[in-house]
């Protein structure tokens, strides 16, 4: 795609951003209560964030906090399209795909008053690709160097064409840190982070809360109604619900799907739903040297297992019909997702037939490793019942999450019920997850054809061409059947005494335009 067409998309995307600001797809409604300026919103997160250093941070909840205090070069809208945030336009890629210019917005200040400019962006991106403990290194692996073109333009030189770059810069890799704070704090930046954002970090009480206050330097501060946001950490979803109902917190993320009906009967509480890009799957170990189950070496048996699972029934029984059943890792709202994906229908008779014709001794044994969490336990039991009905013998092995992940990364499992939080670019949903030697390739898949398709798709910039390549990659993935994709998660945000909160596909609540209600 030429730089001209990218510019046109940039203008269109900026227009879309403006439109989306005025009519968000999923935001809290004012209701009968009057909204007020000022006050501090209390938000219950489902876990405690790790360090508040965008170069190092890895938790989802840290991303939630960053959204209030660390804006990025790019953001994603509800259709997962990249839109400029601190950048002035979409990235302008050279004809050979090896040079990317990023024009920046002018007249912006960090929350400590430091000017935001190309030098500041270079400082952050250099740190992201050089710091030993940087979690962004791999995300920006294609970036060879960063240079300042002028006061408001940076140039990224790439080692190979890399289309997912915009998406990477719409995540933590694109969160720009104040060079003044970086110089003062160095590796301890996360203890007192300073970026560009509607709110500024005030303090953190370890294990308890993170406090942010409205920024005086924010370029769009007229839209910010709250005096501050306090993020508190409540790990138990039942306790988060109770605190929401009692009015102790104004917003609670990731509520239980099973609690939604009850919460919606409470007049003070509003529940917003995000059909997320995250997915859940059954990851099957396909290395016979590591897995004793016949599924490891026989794709037909894996196909029979998929045919035995009724995704709609799983949705109804475990999630009250609230998730989106699907058979592909790419979410439905993603532009690169092929339009012709057809999931195989639940067909227990066909599954039984395949098993009987396979020559295996029935029932076919397989051990299902699951993280020891109530929802996963329920899902596993439903899957076990369905699979056992057609001739499998599924045994469930619940293990504490970190230990389960450890076992899975070592290949010590036969089948693993595991999710992925999803990425806005398809490369992030496939590369490293199903490619040979990938750190998250639990099922030990090693298929050169699939690797080649995923690598080729990341290197082309044309949308149609990328979509075609991802279509072929998904077809190949379906043939291999190393993963049985089950559904895309829906997450729920509960609100009480607050309005104007934005919530969409990335499941990150945004409080920039929120206000408390009387």
């Amino acid at each position: 795609m030429s730089s001209r067409s990218l510019k046109i998309i940039g203008v269109a995307a900026a227009a879309l951003l403006l439109a989306s600001c005025s009519t968000p797809s999923s935001s809290s409604s004012p209701g009968a209560a009057e909204s007020t300026d000022g006050g501090v919103a209390v938000v219950a997160l489902s876990d405690e964030p790790d360090t508040l250093d965008p170069t190092i941070a890895n938790t989802f909840v840290a991303r939630v906090v960053f959204t209030s205090m660390c804006e990025k070069l790019y953001d994603a809208n509800e259709n997962l399209e990249i839109i400029p945030q601190l950048a002035a336009e979409l990235p302008i890629t050279s004809a050979d795909g090896l040079s990317v210019d990023i024009p920046l917005r002018e007249g912006i200040l960090f929350n400590d008053g430091t000017p935001f400019n190309a030098e500041a962006v270079k400082t952050t991106l250099d740190r992201n690709i050089t710091l030993d403990t940087s979690s962004r290194k791999k995300e920006l692996a294609a970036v060879e160097s960063i240079s300042v073109v002028d006061e408001n333009t940076v140039r990224l030189t790439l080692s190979q064409p890399f289309s997912p770059l915009g998406a990477q810069l719409a995540d933590r890799a694109g969160a720009i840190m104040s060079p003044t704070a970086l110089a003062a704090l160095g590796d301890d930046f996360g203890t007192d982070p300073v970026c560009v954002g509607p709110f500024d970090f005030t303090d953190r009480v370890a294990g308890s809360e993170i406090n942010l206050a409205k920024s005086d330097y924010y370029y769009d501060k007229d839209k910010v109604k709250l005096d501050g946001v306090t993020y508190t950490f409540i790990t138990d979803p039942n306790v988060r619900s109770a605190n929401l109902r009692s009015g102790e917190v104004n917003a609670a993320e990731r509520l239980n799907a099973s609690d939604v009906e009850t919460l919606e009967t409470d007049q003070k509480v509003e529940v917003l739903k995000a059909d997320t890009i995250a997915y859940q799957s059954l990851s099957i170990n396909v290395d016979p040297a590591l897995s004793a189950s016949p599924l490891a070496s026989n794709p037909d048996l894996r196909r029979a297992l998929e045919l035995s699972i009724n995704r709609d029934a799983l949705n109804d029984v475990v999630f009250n019909g609230q998730v989106t059943p699907d058979c592909a890792p790419l979410p439905l709202q993603m532009a690169y997702r092929p339009e012709d994906i057809t999931c195989s229908k639940f067909d227990p008779d066909e599954a039984t037939k395949i098993l009987e014709e396979s020559g295996e001794t029935l029932p076919v044994p397989v051990e299902l490793l699951i993280p020891a969490r109530p929802t996963d336990q329920k899902s596993a039991e439903v899957i076990q019942q369905m699979a056992n009905d057609v001739g499998f013998d599924v045994t469930i092995k619940p293990v504490e999450f970190v230990s389960a992940l450890d076992a899975a990364r070592a290949g010590q499992f036969e089948m693993f019920l595991i999710g992925w939080s999803g990425r806005i670019d398809p490369d992030g949903d496939l590369n490293d997850l199903v490619t040979t030697g990938g750190a998250n390739n639990f099922n030990q898949l090693a298929d050169p054809e699939l690797d080649g398709l995923i690598a080729a798709a990341a290197a082309v910039t044309d949308t149609d061409e990328r979509q075609k390549l991802y279509g072929e990659a998904l077809d190949r993935l379906d043939e291999l059947k190393a993963n049985i994709y089950l559904y895309h998660d829906s997450w729920f945000l509960g609100l009480s005494g607050i309005t104007g909160v934005e919530y969409s596909s990335d499941a990150i609540p945004r409080f920039k335009t929120a206000s408390l209600t009387e």
């Binding site: 405690e48 790790d50 360090t51 508040l52 890895n58 938790t59 030993d132 403990t133 940087s134 979690s135 290194k137 791999k138 995300e139 590796d187 301890d188 996360g190 203890t191 953190r204 009480v205 370890a206 294990g207 308890s208 809360e209 508190t232 950490f233 409540i234 790990t235 138990d236 039942n238 306790v239 109770a242 605190n243 109902r245 009692s246 009015g247 102790e248 504490e400 999450f401 970190v402 230990s403 992940l405 450890d406 076992a407 990364r409 992925w420 939080s421 750190a439 998250n440």
Partner: protein, 317 residues
């Protein structure tokens, strides 16, 4: 008495040293790599190695232990792997919160437990006794997480008289602090009161049937004075049980703090286990063990004071 105390102090120091080894090794026996937890979904081998290097996790375990213990003796307990905040700073923030919670829970437990135990013993075989012993049974049987959620449902959601969660420092807002602490302290104290009630009742009944009480009764001592004498002698058992219950109290605090979102020691330990945050886990458990050992040392001393036979036998009883 001095020799007795010295003996107990030496035993306590040895216990603490052994506990430090157990805590250190125990933390590392947990399956799951802390570097993997910190790296999250991005499990890049180079990043994992850099994290292990940063926190010294790639050193042999004995090197890690002696480095840790050497630093710990100077008051440096390392930094939290999650957010790089010094462990000592975090513990100093959390310890007073759990101490306040435990103190209030003990107060509630003592008031309810001893009162109910005395009433139950004095009114043995009556309706009041059945109610008190029934309370003891329920208090011991009901899990604190259930009691906690029930308390939130009733007091915070239905009647809205107390907050469901949260903690405000006493110095910052004394009323707010006590309002936030009432429910968790009561939930924690009820379990303790049930144990104390049963112990008080049993000990007091034993004393009330002792020869010296019968003699006093035959000499016309009032019922109140009779109970007062017997109660003082019963308290040695109650004090010992109270010391032993400290472990249960810390265990109970872990659950209670999770439910009421009290940023104390219990919540800290649970979060540290989930995150494989070794420095926090070691520091918190070591401080808890130190507290437990110190309280039992004090209980031993108090016991020796209340029961002279203890110090005469040098604690070998």
């Amino acid at each position: 008495m001095t020799r007795f105390i010295l003996q107990r102090v030496i035993t306590s120091v040895i216990t603490l040293f052994l506990a430090s080894i157990v805590v250190f090794i125990g933390a590392r026996m947990l399956p799951g790599d802390p570097a993997q937890v910190l790296a999250g979904e991005s499990a890049d081998p180079a990043l994992l190695e850099a994290i292990r290097e940063q926190f010294g996790l790639n050193q042999p375990i004995w090197v890690q232990y002696f480095t840790y213990i050497g630093q710990a003796l100077t008051g440096n307990l390392g930094v939290s792997t999650r957010d790089n905040i010094p462990v000592a700073e975090i513990l100093l923030q959390r310890l007073p919160i759990t101490l306040e919670l435990a103190g209030l829970a003990i107060l509630i437990g003592l008031v309810i437990g001893i009162t109910a135990g005395v009433v139950s013993a004095v009114k043995r075989g009556t309706f009041v006794d059945y109610v008190a012993t029934g309370f003891g049974l329920v208090g011991l049987s009901v899990p604190s997480f259930w009691l906690g959620l029930l308390a939130i449902l009733l007091f915070a959601i239905t009647w809205q008289v107390l907050p469901a969660s949260g903690f405000v420092g006493f110095a910052e807002d004394p009323i707010g602090n006590l309002r936030g602490m009432i429910l968790p302290a009561t939930v924690l104290g009820i379990g303790l009161s049930a144990v104390l009630m049963r112990q008080t009742r049993a000990a007091l009944l034993g004393q009330l049937s002792a020869d010296y009480v019968r003699t006093a009764r035959s000499k016309g001592v009032t019922r109140g004075r009779e109970v007062s004498h017997a109660l003082r002698n019963s308290l040695t058992t109650v004090v010992t049980v109270l010391g032993l219950q400290l472990g249960a109290l810390i265990g109970g605090a872990i659950v209670t703090e999770q439910i009421f979102v009290i940023p104390g020691f219990g919540k800290l330990i649970i979060d540290a286990v989930a995150a494989r945050n070794y420095p926090i886990l070691q520091g918190a458990v070591l401080v808890a063990v130190t507290g437990y050992v110190l309280v039992n040392l004090l209980v031993d001393v108090a016991y020796a004071y209340l029961n002279p036979r203890m110090r005469l036998s040098g604690g070998s009883e």
